[in-house]
C-alpha cells in the first residue's frame, strides 16, 4: 500500500485531493506547510509527495530542496501543484517529477500518481 503526502495550506484543496486519492486505494497524509511535511517525513514512510508552492513557514520549493538534501529521501518523487508559480517548478525538473497548474484535472493528477508509484493493489 502506497502512502501519499499532500502538502497545502488550503485545507479544502488538500482534503479534496486526499479523498480522491483514498478512493483510488492510496493511504493519504496531510500537512499544512513545508515544515509540517518535513516533520511528518521523519517518522513516516511515504512513496510520493504532492505539494503546493505558496505556503506559510516553508514553501513547496524549499520543501523539495530539503527533501533532496536528505540522503534517505533523495529518490522520493515530488509533484508540484501551483497556479502562479507552476513555471518555477518546470524550470526545476531535478526537484519535481511533475508540475500541475491549479486548477488541475484531478483524473490527470491521479493518472500521474499511478504512473510514478504504481496503482495500489485492489483493496
Amino acid at each position: 500500500m502506497s502512502t501519499i503526502l499532500v502538502v497545502d495550506d488550503e485545507y479544502l484543496i488538500a482534503n479534496i485531493l486526499g479523498w480522491a486519492l483514498e478512493d483510488e486505494g492510496f493511504d493519504v497524509e496531510l500537512a499544512g506547510n513545508g515544515q509540517k511535511a518535513l516533520d511528518l517525513l521523519k517518522g513516516k514512510r511515504v512513496e510520493l509527495v504532492i505539494t503546493d508552492y505558496m505556503m506559510p513557514v516553508m514553501d513547496g520549493e524549499a520543501l523539495a530542496v530539503s527533501i533532496r538534501a536528505e540522503p534517505l529521501l533523495q529518490a522520493l518523487p515530488i509533484i508540484l501543484m501551483s497556479g502562479a508559480q507552476a513555471h518555477k517548478g518546470r524550470d526545476n525538473p531535478r526537484l519535481f517529477a511533475a508540475v500541475f497548474d491549479k486548477p488541475f484535472d484531478i483524473d490527470q493528477l491521479i493518472a500521474k500518481v499511478k504512473e510514478l508509484v504504481g496503482a495500489p493493489e485492489a483493496p
Binding site: 495550506d9 479544502l12 505558496m54 513557514v57 491549479k102
Partner: protein, 480 residues
C-alpha cells in the same frame, strides 16, 4: 509636528479621503457585506503597493481557495500574476485556526511577516476569527496581538470582514481606522458608497462618498464639498467686467458681467438659454478660453447651432479659444462630473464656462439634500479660479407667474440671476429677459425682448406699454 508616514493606496480618490493614504504601521478594518468590494479594494491596494516596491502578505481565514480568488481577480486590470509568490504572498491560515486556534494563527502570521519582510498584511475573514473566538475578548486580543507584531515590523494591517461591526464593537476599539463599503438603491440604480467611520491620527474626509467598481478596480469620488470646503484660492477679487457676448446687455450691466461671477439663466424649454450661452462662449478668446460643459447637444449639433447664430465654433476650437466637453452621461456620479469640470478648467486655463444645464447635475444626485452644498463648493471653486460662469436652468412652466428657484438659498450659489419667459403680446409670442440680480452692480431693470437671428442675440427694451408682463399674459397700460 511630524507628519505621519503614509502608505498610498493608489486607489483613485481613496488617498484624498485618507489625506495621503493609510498610516504606516496602523491597523484598519475594511467592512462590508459580501459583494461590496472589500476584496477588490484590498487586492487593488496590495498590487499597487507591490508595484511601488512594497511587500504584501495576504492571509485568509476563509475556506475559499486562492485559485478561485485569482480567477476572479484576473478580470481586473491591476491583477499581475507575475507578482504572486514573489513580492505578494497568499497564505491560508484557515486550517491553523480550525485545528490550533487563534493564538497559533498569530504566531504563524508573525513568522510570515518577518519571513516575507511584509510592509502590508491583509487578513481576510475576521468574522471567522470572531466565531472561532470563545469570548469577544479573544477577537480583541487577536487583533491587538497581530497589530502589535505588525506595527513592530513597520507593517500596516487591513482586517477584512463581511460583518457589519458597530462603532462601539470591541474590534473597532482596537484598530486605528474603519473603512466601510456598502451600496444602496437609488431609483433602480445601485449606488456604491464608502465611508471612513473611524480615522485616528488624520484629518480624513468624513461622511459618505460614492464609488464605482470597473475593470480597473475601485474608484472613489470624494464629495466635492468635502474636497473644496475651502476654495483653493481667493481669486483676484478685482471688480472687473467681462463681456457677456451681447453688447446691448453689457451696456445695461454697466460694462459687462462681473468677472469671476456665476450667472444663472432660468427659463422654459426653447426660450433661448443655450443661444444666450452660445453668445457668452462666442466672447471667449485664446488668452481667456471658454468651455462648453453641456449635457444635451453633441459637439456637432452645438457647432451647427452656433453657426446659425453667426459663430464659427470650429474655428474658435482650432484657435484654442473654446473647448466643447459634451457629457453624454445620464448615469454617473455627481462628484465625478463635478471634478471633470474642475479638471478641464485647470488643464486648459479656462476663464469662462457655460454649464448647460445645472439641472443635469441634479439628476445625478443620489442625495438631493447635498445639492446646495455641492453647487456652493463647485461655484466657489470656479470663482476662486477666476472663472466666469453662465449656467442654465430649465423651468417647468412655459407660461405662468410661478417662478421656482432651482435650489434653496440660491444667493449662496449664484451672483447674477436672469429670468427668461415667453410673453404673448399682440398675437405674437415674444421672448422676455429680465435681470433680477447682479452682484455688486447697478443694472438697468427694464424688461428686455430677446431677439434671436443669424447675427446672434439682440436685446431691445420692450414691454414699456404693458403691465403684468412677467406673468406671460400682459395687459396694455391704460392710456397708452
Amino acid at each position: 509636528m511630524e507628519p505621519l508616514k503614509r502608505l498610498a493606496t493608489g486607489i483613485p480618490g481613496l488617498d484624498e479621503l485618507l489625506k495621503g493614504g493609510l498610516v504606516v504601521g496602523a491597523s484598519y478594518i475594511v467592512q462590508g457585506r459580501p459583494g461590496s468590494g472589500k476584496t477588490i479594494l484590498a487586492n487593488q491596494l496590495a498590487f499597487n503597493h507591490v508595484a511601488h516596491g512594497g511587500r504584501v502578505l495576504v492571509a485568509t481565514l476563509l475556506s475559499e481557495s486562492h485559485e478561485r480568488l485569482f480567477q476572479y481577480l484576473s478580470t481586473l486590470s491591476f491583477f499581475d500574476p507575475a507578482k504572486i509568490g514573489a513580492q505578494l504572498q497568499f497564505v491560508s491560515a484557515f486550517d491553523t485556526m480550525e485545528q490550533e486556534g487563534l493564538d497559533e494563527v498569530v504566531k504563524l502570521l508573525r513568522g510570515e511577516i518577518s519571513r516575507h519582510q511584509a510592509s502590508l498584511l491583509i487578513v481576510d475573514g475576521l468574522l471567522n476569527a470572531r466565531s472561532r473566538a470563545e469570548t469577544p475578548l479573544d477577537t480583541k486580543k487577536f487583533i491587538a496581538e497581530l497589530h502589535g507584531h505588525a506595527a513592530f515590523a513597520g507593517c500596516t494591517v487591513l482586517f477584512l470582514t463581511s460583518s457589519r461591526l458597530e462603532d462601539g464593537s470591541p474590534e473597532h476599539t482596537m484598530v486605528d481606522g474603519v473603512i466601510e463599503l456598502g451600496d444602496e438603491l437609488f431609483g433602480s440604480r445601485s449606488v456604491r458608497r464608502i465611508q471612513l467611520r473611524k480615522t485616528r491620527g488624520s484629518g480624513a474626509l468624513s461622511g459618505i462618498h460614492e464609488c464605482e467598481i470597473t475593470e480597473d478596480g475601485i474608484q472613489v469620488y470624494p464629495r466635492l464639498e468635502s474636497l473644496y470646503s475651502h476654495p483653493t484660492g481667493l481669486g483676484t477679487g478685482e471688480l472687473t467686467r467681462v463681456p457677456s457676448g451681447v453688447p446691448v446687455f453689457d451696456s445695461m450691466l454697466g460694462g459687462g458681467l462681473p468677472a469671476a461671477s456665476v450667472t444663472l439663466a432660468m427659463g422654459p424649454s426653447g426660450i433661448g438659454k443655450t443661444s444666450l450661452g452660445v453668445s457668452f462662449l462666442g466672447a471667449a478668446t485664446a488668452a481667456e478660453p471658454g468651455l462648453h460643459f453641456g449635457f444635451y447637444e453633441t459637439p456637432h449639433r452645438l457647432r451647427l447651432k452656433a453657426g446659425a447664430l453667426g459663430y464659427d465654433f470650429a474655428a474658435m476650437e482650432r484657435a484654442g479659444a473654446l473647448r466643447i466637453a459634451w457629457q453624454p452621461t445620464t448615469e454617473g456620479v455627481l462628484d465625478d462630473v463635478g471634478m471633470r469640470l474642475l479638471r478641464l478648467v485647470e488643464q486648459h486655463n479656462i476663464k469662462r464656462v457655460l454649464i448647460d444645464s445645472l439641472g443635469a447635475f441634479t439628476r445625478l444626485a443620489s442625495n438631493p439634500m447635498r445639492l446646495n452644498e455641492f453647487f456652493r463648493a463647485l461655484t466657489g471653486e470656479l470663482r476662486a479660479r477666476d472663472v466666469s460662469v453662465l449656467a442654465t436652468w430649465e423651468m417647468r412652466d412655459i407660461f405662468g407667474s410661478e417662478i421656482n428657484a432651482p435650489a434653496p438659498d440660491l444667493s449662496s450659489i449664484v451672483d447674477n440671476l436672469l429670468l427668461m419667459r415667453f410673453v404673448e403680446m399682440e398675437s405674437e409670442l415674444k421672448r422676455l429677459l429680465s435681470i433680477l440680480k447682479v452682484r455688486d452692480s447697478y443694472y438697468d431693470p427694464a424688461l428686455l425682448e430677446l431677439i434671436i437671428s443669424d447675427h446672434g442675440i439682440d436685446l431691445q427694451k420692450a414691454f414699456s406699454q404693458a403691465t403684468g408682463v412677467m406673468s406671460g399674459t400682459p395687459s396694455q397700460v391704460p392710456g397708452s
